[in-house]
Subunit: 193 residues, 2 copies
């Protein structure tokens, strides 16, 4: 941020009176320009048939992480709820019709000023197709998940927690809600010996 | 928003190519100024002694809703997690030291572009005191809660859900996680006959 969005005067960085954090402030009109974390919201779309469960993943057609696999997700917009954002992103990125379930993960990614939320979701049909931000959309059983080609740590964490809870569900338990803080970058590829 | 914060040129409202929503865009430098919902994060600080549970509330010293009662809460900042934001706001507004528990409510307030999160929290001592944004801080048993003088619908909803779950806890159950969409404004005062 270089200029005040209210009066076009150059902004400076200063701690406003009564505050304790540096902010972009306008010395001409007095506006304080607060900056806050953004929410990224998506789903874990599943299809279950004859006891086999598969999860729908999208291959990213945009940066960052072009070509890597992700759960359908994106930035929450004004005027919508977290649930509506989850459904919208699933439709936009995977062309998928889902019945939305409960919130499954809340993942803090503080170093990039983001909070990621993923909802459980059940695919209503198999008429999915890649949206403009996806190169491909495919269903994966647990043993088929491209663990080394996932786009973000929050995708890996959400899928790991999902399959762990899935095992509990098969033993009569239920899916829980999981909050986690993601502090490390994506796991580096294993170095050859 | 009137001017581009990158180049100071007046912004216009337009739907960018490949997008489907109107955004503030700069026709000089091409920057698209996205606007996204903000998170408001707080706690339900409780003190339990001899089987009696009390909740700490703050009387607001700032607008909106000056003089009304709230749970300690405020806007999440960049570089912090949701849990850190909850602890910070509890300390700033109520001077209270708490042990943070699980996330209890996620409340969408789409018409004001906000998502409110409240965490369970246990007061570690009674050395609380009003911060600069509070006129007063007091502990209330359930029958003492000033229901008609609460600041926001999300405070009422969180407290109602909390005391409902509390009854389950006393019967051997546990506190759950609750997601809700708040679509109606605060309940209007009852008109006299």
């Amino acid at each position: 941020m270089k200029f005040c969005s209210e009066c076009a005067h150059p902004v400076t960085v200063a701690i406003p009176e009564g505050d304790n954090r540096p902010r972009y402030v306008c010395t001409q009109c007095g506006t304080i320009h607060y900056q806050n974390p953004k929410m990224v919201i998506g789903t874990i779309p599943v299809w279950e048939q004859d006891g086999e469960l598969k999860v729908l993943l999208c291959k990213r057609a945009i940066e960052p992480r072009y070509g890597y696999w992700t759960l359908p997700a994106g930035f929450m917009e004004n005027e919508e709820t977290t649930g509506q954002a989850a459904m919208r992103e699933t439709e936009e990125e995977a062309g998928a019709n889902v019945a939305l379930g409960e919130l499954f993960t809340l993942l803090n990614v503080a170093h990039v000023h983001q909070v990621h939320l993923f909802y459980l979701a059940r695919l209503l049909d198999l008429d999915y197709e890649a949206g403009v931000e996806s190169l491909d959309v495919q269903m994966f059983a647990e043993h088929e998940i491209p663990w080394d080609d996932l786009a973000f740590p929050t995708i890996r964490t959400t899928l790991e927690l999902f399959f762990a809870d899935r095992r509990k569900v098969l033993e009569g338990g239920s899916y829980g809600f999981h909050g986690r803080d993601i502090t490390k970058p994506m796991r580096a590829p294993v170095e050859p010996d």
